[in-house]
């Protein structure tokens, strides 16, 4: 069964460093999302992406964040200068255009630890 994959599973970085989190959405999906979950808290929407541009973004997704689809398969989230409060689990999700339910399928997540 096709699934969303994410790399790395765990990333440790120093405050102020840039990180890139990578996702490979399900191959026939057209809409892509990033969410984050701070430990023990709820899942929060960051950004949605369609047709090579951002569709929507939340207040969390400030100028330090960017997303890109550099090729036909990868979808990346870049944090330019990490802060301690960026430590969280980051989930990528994708959905297809077809079907009313627009069910979003989530990847296994990348745990980001900022020291």
């Amino acid at each position: 069964e096709p699934e969303v994959t994410q790399t790395p599973s765990h990333q440790v970085t120093q405050m102020g460093q840039e990180v890139i989190l990578r996702c490979v959405p399900i191959s026939n999906h057209l809409y892509f999302y990033w969410y984050r979950q701070i430990l023990g808290q709820k899942v929060e929407f960051l950004v949605s992406f369609y047709n090579n541009e951002i569709s929507e973004k939340s207040e969390i997704f400030d100028d330090q964040f960017s997303v890109e689809r550099p090729d036909g398969s990868n979808f990346t989230l870049k944090i330019r200068s990490t802060k301690l409060e960026d430590s969280a689990m980051y989930f990528c999700a994708s959905t297809s255009l077809a079907g009313l339910n627009n069910e979003q399928f989530f990847g296994p997540g990348t745990r980001l630890t900022v020291l």
Binding site: Y31, Y33, Y35, Q41, K42, V43, E44, F45, S48, Y50, S55, E56, S58, F91, L97, L100, N101, N102, E103, Q104, F105, F106, G107, P108, G109
Partner: protein
Amino acid sequence: ELKVEQNPLFLSMQEGKNYTIYCNYSTTSDRLYWYRQDPGKSLESLFVLLSNGAVKQEGRLMASLDTKARLSTLHITAAVHDLSATYFCAAYYGGSQGNLIFGKGTKLSVKP
């Protein structure tokens, strides 16, 4: 702004008992999702509810949606230990490219 409230946030149950988790949302949303998350793991889709009165069942879990009351419920029947996890409801926000707004989650612990 769409807000999603879940209760209870913590639930400790005995095996064999029944219980219901409630999910209220603040503004109109035409789709409601339930996800399960095991510790340190990703979100597993359980149910997608698309219309008023929708009811879906899978094993010991049954989900329903009342769009007029802006309420969804997840009912657990005769709980077993394997159901221990955190359950999130999420309401759909936006147009065709919309995102999900999640509740805080209900951490369920089923004890023998």
